[in-house]
C-alpha cells in the first residue's frame, strides 16, 4: 500500500537496508505555509485511490526493473495535513549513491506527473483552492 491516511513513520520507513546496500536516499515532501505569496494553513489531499496505488506501484517497479539492485518505496498521505506535515516520502536503497539519488529524483518527478492525487490549499479564512500545476 502506497497511500495512507495516517502520519508517515519516517524512522520505520528508513530502517530497512539490505547487506549489499551502501546508500539510502530519502525524499520527504512537506506542507509549506504559502503558495505564490498566498498563505496556506493546511492542505487537503485527495486521491483516486485504486489508480493512485497502481500508478505508484508502476513507477516503483519500473525503476527497480531498470536497476535491479535499486529498491524504491513510497508513501503518500491523503486527507487534511497541517503545515510541516510530511505529504510524501520516498526511500531508495541501492549499492551506491549515484543510482540512489537518480531513482529518488525520478520517483518524485514521476509521482507528480502521473499519479492521480490532488491537493486543495486551505487559506486562513477557511476557503480552499485546488492546485493546478499547469496554470502556473
Amino acid at each position: 500500500m502506497f497511500l495512507t491516511s495516517e502520519p508517515i513513520d519516517l524512522a520505520g520507513f528508513v530502517r530497512e537496508a539490505r547487506p549489499g546496500d551502501g546508500a539510502v536516499c530519502v525524499f520527504v515532501g512537506v506542507v509549506r505555509n504559502e503558495s505564490d505569496g498566498r498563505e496556506t494553513v493546511a492542505i487537503e489531499y485527495e486521491a483516486y485511490g485504486p489508480m493512485a496505488e497502481s500508478e505508484m506501484a508502476r513507477i516503483a517497479e519500473s525503476l527497480s526493473r531498470e536497476r535491479p539492485d535499486v529498491r524504491v518505496r513510497v508513501r503518500h498521505r491523503v486527507g487534511r495535513l497541517a503545515v510541516g506535515d510530511a505529504s510524501v516520502a520516498i526511500v531508495v536503497t541501492a549499492p551506491h549513491r549515484e543510482e540512489a539519488f537518480a531513482a529518488c529524483r525520478a520517483a518524485i518527478e514521476g509521482i507528480k506527473k502521473t499519479v492521480p492525487i490532488w491537493k486543495k490549499e486551505i487559506r486562513p479564512d477557511g476557503t480552499g483552492e485546488w492546485v493546478d500545476p499547469t496554470q502556473d
Partner: protein, 81 residues
C-alpha cells in the same frame, strides 16, 4: 450500455457529485463521453481540450472505445507530492 463516471477534485465540484452512471450508445468512445459531459456541465466546458482520462484505472487515449460496466474518470491536472 452503462458506464460509471467518477469525478475528483475540481471536477467533482463542477459535477456536484462523486460519481454517476451514464447510459451511452454502443460504440461510444471516451471522447464522446467527454463531449456529452462538457456540454452539460458548464464548469467542464471551459477546458479547451479533453483532460487525461482513465478507463478501469488505466490511462487511455481519447479514441478508446467504452464497454458496458466500464469505470471512467476524467482527471484534473494531478498535483501530488
Amino acid at each position: 450500455m452503462m458506464v460509471r463516471v467518477l469525478y475528483f477534485a475540481s471536477f467533482r465540484d463542477a459535477a456536484g457529485c462523486d460519481e454517476e452512471t451514464r447510459e451511452l450508445p454502443c460504440g461510444s468512445r471516451v471522447s464522446d463521453l467527454w463531449a456529452t459531459l462538457s456540454r452539460e456541465l458548464a464548469q467542464l466546458s471551459r477546458f479547451p481540450v479533453m483532460p487525461p482520462a482513465a478507463v478501469n484505472r488505466e490511462y487511455v487515449a481519447a479514441g478508446t472505445e467504452l464497454h458496458d460496466g466500464d469505470e471512467v474518470a476524467f482527471l484534473p491536472a494531478v498535483a501530488g507530492g
